[in-house]
């Protein structure tokens, strides 16, 4: 059945193609238009390649005939116009109007021919294209390597339908209302747009890598000596799975687990809201300042047994200057805007100088000037002989006749066409021709292939050399890059200050209470410093054995890989140390190196190596401990799992 349909279609195409061939002496544009209309009514969508090719070739043949017919009519009218030069104004006006219509139709036909030439594969046998071209017009190579008559490239189709068009439905951006799309989805689009705005703003905050996900430092087996100023947005789970000490007998002796939940998580649940609803998230930032921690620490006692010591705590973020909407961050955005404008201007000027550098190339001029001559001849046919355009084109043609084409398409000292008032300005025809027949033909997709095919390798080599020269000064782009980096750093490095309270309850020995002030600040690009100042209180079960003291801890955080808005955390390296002084005890000093490896978005693997001058039990042994675990940030996991 398919074969039968294909055969009928091919036969129909053949009939429509062949019939006009028998009567070419009668080229009536209306009749040809009728044939084109009938042929276009035949749908070949979904048919075989052979049928589609035959269909397109038939159309191309008819359009080419139509072009010839239109040209004949233009010629006839020009003759009539010349014979009626002395007739009344109305008659002359009618002829001029008719000529304009024909010229417009000719231009449209050229477009169709160009379109079909791009569809129909280049074949040596495509004589139906070339044989019907206007006699005497120079044939020049087009970017695809085929040949065609110069007048047919006067108005080429702009480059369109790039590779991205096939995947339009996959891009959220295509859901945006455009003037040419139905407006039935306006509400949806409005909501979608607002939602995306909120998501992005929320993500900047949700992705802050300084939020603590590991067990707090009150746990002996924590992988961190230092507490961070802010907690996760929803619920964080930290596991310190095992500890390897220098004494094998203590291997895997302790472990700790902590769960930290923000007040925001409880509030959202109470309100029955989606935890990551961007609108809700952005409207309640203060609920994320407060968080609660619950966990336990398995501690080894002197008798060799272990006890599970529960940990409770809360944290409040007092100062947070990393909010992107703060005024200090807006000023950074303004600086980016200023530099973006300068860089855009620089980009445009460089682009223009390169575009018009081709006009000076002898290889390009050799090809373009004959085309321009044909362009002028074709244009002249559409104009009233008394018009200013007519006389201007005549002057341009005289340059060809007199061999004075050297000042055509000549850029000024800045490398671009002179502005009005400057000497040797480009005529409107030069501007139009260079735009439509050089830039749009050769500087679209695959421009290097097109340039090489049309003008040779040397033009590409010259282009590369000129580009290098033009990009010698890239200050505008560097400034833009610097201001962008400054803005991002400004947000990342802005200070945070919080208060933290933790307690560890023990069945034996002493309960522990710790009050921290925590400060985090960016020292340099990708380097942050966190400081903890703590008051410690140990409430002993024995009368009179309570101890008090203080602890000071500091940590440098080095971001080893760049941060992105999506995906895993960067890789971090930490160097930290603390000093703990308690009444009745010898001071304890610790130093730690830690690497935080991001496994997935929201799951990190921290492992640390800690050296202490004495262990938790006060003994000057087991000084080194290797600790590792997992840190889970549920907000980021949910963010990754939530459909965009």
């Amino acid at each position: 059945m398919k074969r039968l349909i294909s055969a009928i279609l091919i036969a129909a195409v053949f009939v429509f193609t062949a019939c006009p061939a028998f009567g070419q002496e009668i080229l009536n544009p209306d009749a040809i238009r009728g044939q084109i209309r009938k042929l276009e009514e035949i749908s070949v969508e979904g048919r075989s390649v052979a049928v589609q090719r035959a269909h397109n070739r038939a159309l191309l043949g008819l359009y080419t005939q139509l072009q010839t017919a239109l040209q004949q009519e233009i010629d006839e009218l020009k003759k009539i116009q010349a014979l009626t030069a002395s007739s009344d104004t109305a008659t002359r006006q009618d002829i001029a109007n008719e000529l304009n219509k024909l010229a417009s139709a000719s231009t449209e036909t050229d477009k169709q021919i160009a379109r079909l030439q791009n569809i129909v594969p280049a074949q040596p046998s495509s004589t139906d294209v070339n044989s019907a071209m206007t006699a005497g017009t120079p044939k020049v190579p087009n970017p695809a390597g085929t040949t065609f008559a110069a007048p047919n490239i006067i108005r080429p189709e702009p480059a369109s339908n790039g590779p991205g068009s096939a995947s339009m439905s996959l891009s959220a951006s295509n859901l945006v209302a455009t003037p040419n799309t139905p407006q039935t989805g306006d509400n949806f689009n409005d909501a979608l747009n607002k939602r995306i705005q909120e998501i992005v703003r929320a993500r900047i905050q949700q992705r802050d890598p300084t939020k603590q996900t590991e067990p707090p430092n009150v746990a002996n087996s924590s992988t961190s000596l230092v507490n961070m100023p802010s907690a996760g947005d929803l619920v964080n789970v930290g596991f310190a799975l095992a500890g390897l000490t220098s004494n094998n007998a203590d291997a895997n002796a302790t472990e700790s687990v902590s769960v930290t939940a923000s007040a925001y998580a409880f509030y959202a649940l109470a309100k029955n809201q989606d935890l990551l609803n961007p609108d809700f998230y952005n409207r309640h930032p203060n609920w994320r300042r407060l968080s609660f921690t619950l966990g336990y620490d398995n501690e080894k006692l002197k008798d060799g047994t272990t006890q599970k010591a529960p940990i409770f705590g809360w944290k409040y973020l007092i100062v947070d200057k990393r909010d992107p909407s703060r005024r200090r961050n807006q000023e950074a955005f303004q600086m980016i805007g200023k530099n973006l404008r300068t860089a855009s201007t620089a980009f445009g000027n460089i682009s223009q100088r390169i575009v018009y550098s081709f006009a000076k190339s002898s290889a390009v001029r050799t090809v373009l000037l004959p085309q321009f001559s044909a362009f002028l001849s074709n244009r002249l046919k559409t104009l009233d002989a008394n018009s200013t355009e007519f006389s201007r084109i005549k002057k341009l043609q005289a340059k060809f006749e007199n061999g004075e084409t050297s000042d055509l398409f000549l850029p000024n000292s800045e490398g671009v066409p002179p502005n009005p008032g400057e000497p040797r300005g480009w005529s409107p025809e030069e501007l139009e021709f260079y735009t439509d027949n050089f830039q749009n033909v050769y500087l679209g997709p695959d421009y290097r292939v097109k340039l090489k095919d049309a003008f040779g390798q040397k033009v590409l080599d010259d282009l590369d050399a000129f580009l290098t020269e033009q990009l010698a000064d890239t200050k505008a782009f560097e400034d833009l890059s610097d201001s962008t980096r400054d803005a991002l750093e400004s947000i990342r490095r802005a200070p945070q200050f919080s208060f933290n309270f933790l307690t560890k309850q023990r069945a034996e020995i002493a309960d522990e209470y710790q009050a921290d002030t925590i400060f985090d600040y960016g020292l340099a690009d990708r380097i942050n410093l966190t400081l903890n100042g703590s008051f410690l209180y140990r409430d002993s079960k024995l009368v009179g054995a309570d101890t008090r003291g203080g602890k000071f801890a500091g940590q440098f955080r080095f971001q080893l890989t760049p941060e992105k808005l999506a995906g895993r955390n960067p890789l971090f390296f930490f160097l930290s140390g603390n000093a703990e002084l308690l009444s009745g005890f010898k001071p304890v000093y610790k130093a730690q190196a830690k690497l935080n490896i991001p496994l997935f978005n929201g799951v990190d693997f921290p492992f640390s190596l800690t050296y202490a001058n004495r262990n938790e039990l006060g003994a000057a042994k087991n000084k080194t401990r290797l600790q590792f675990g997992f840190a889970i940030d549920t907000a980021r996991i949910l963010q990754a799992l939530t459909p965009k």
């Binding site: 702009p158 339908n161 991205g164 455009t178 409107p428 501007l431 439509d436």
Partner: protein, 132 residues
């Protein structure tokens, strides 16, 4: 550069018959917390449109500009460059249309969506403009 372009139409250059009443219409839709873009006429170093301009619509956030306006300095050949910054806006949709003297869309020149999740990404979309 990790900017993803979804191209419907892209034209490197346009000739605008300004004396015949033709004009260009620039339209950009931004999605994100803080759109950051500038459309400049590079030859005369003038700002045509930016995120500081008054939007024609807030939902979606859309900006529009006709060229030339009476205040615009004209040059025979220039580049109208759109600079897009993705520091706090992951998506832009940029359209340029050639308008006839009667205000009808004569031809779509640029119709592209841009997406990036990398905050320091920047993209420049140039359009070479000749006018007479």
């Amino acid at each position: 550069m990790a900017v993803q372009k979804n191209v419907t139409t892209e034209t490197p250059a346009v000739f605008v018959n300004v004396s015949g009443g033709e004009s260009l219409r620039y339209r950009i839709t931004a999605q994100g917390a803080q759109p950051l873009f500038t459309l400049v006429d590079s030859r005369v170093d003038s700002l045509l449109l930016s995120n500081q301009s008054a939007p024609i619509s807030n939902a979606p956030l859309m900006f529009e500009r006709k060229w030339p306006l009476p205040i615009d300095s004209m040059s025979t050949a220039t580049n109208h460059t759109m600079g897009l910054h993705f520091i706090a806006a992951p998506q832009y949709h940029y359209q340029v249309d050639l308008m006839s003297a009667t205000g009808q869309v004569k031809r779509s020149l640029i119709d592209i969506s841009y997406t990036s999740n990398v905050p320091d990404d920047v993209f420049f979309q140039g359009l070479s403009v000749t006018a007479a």
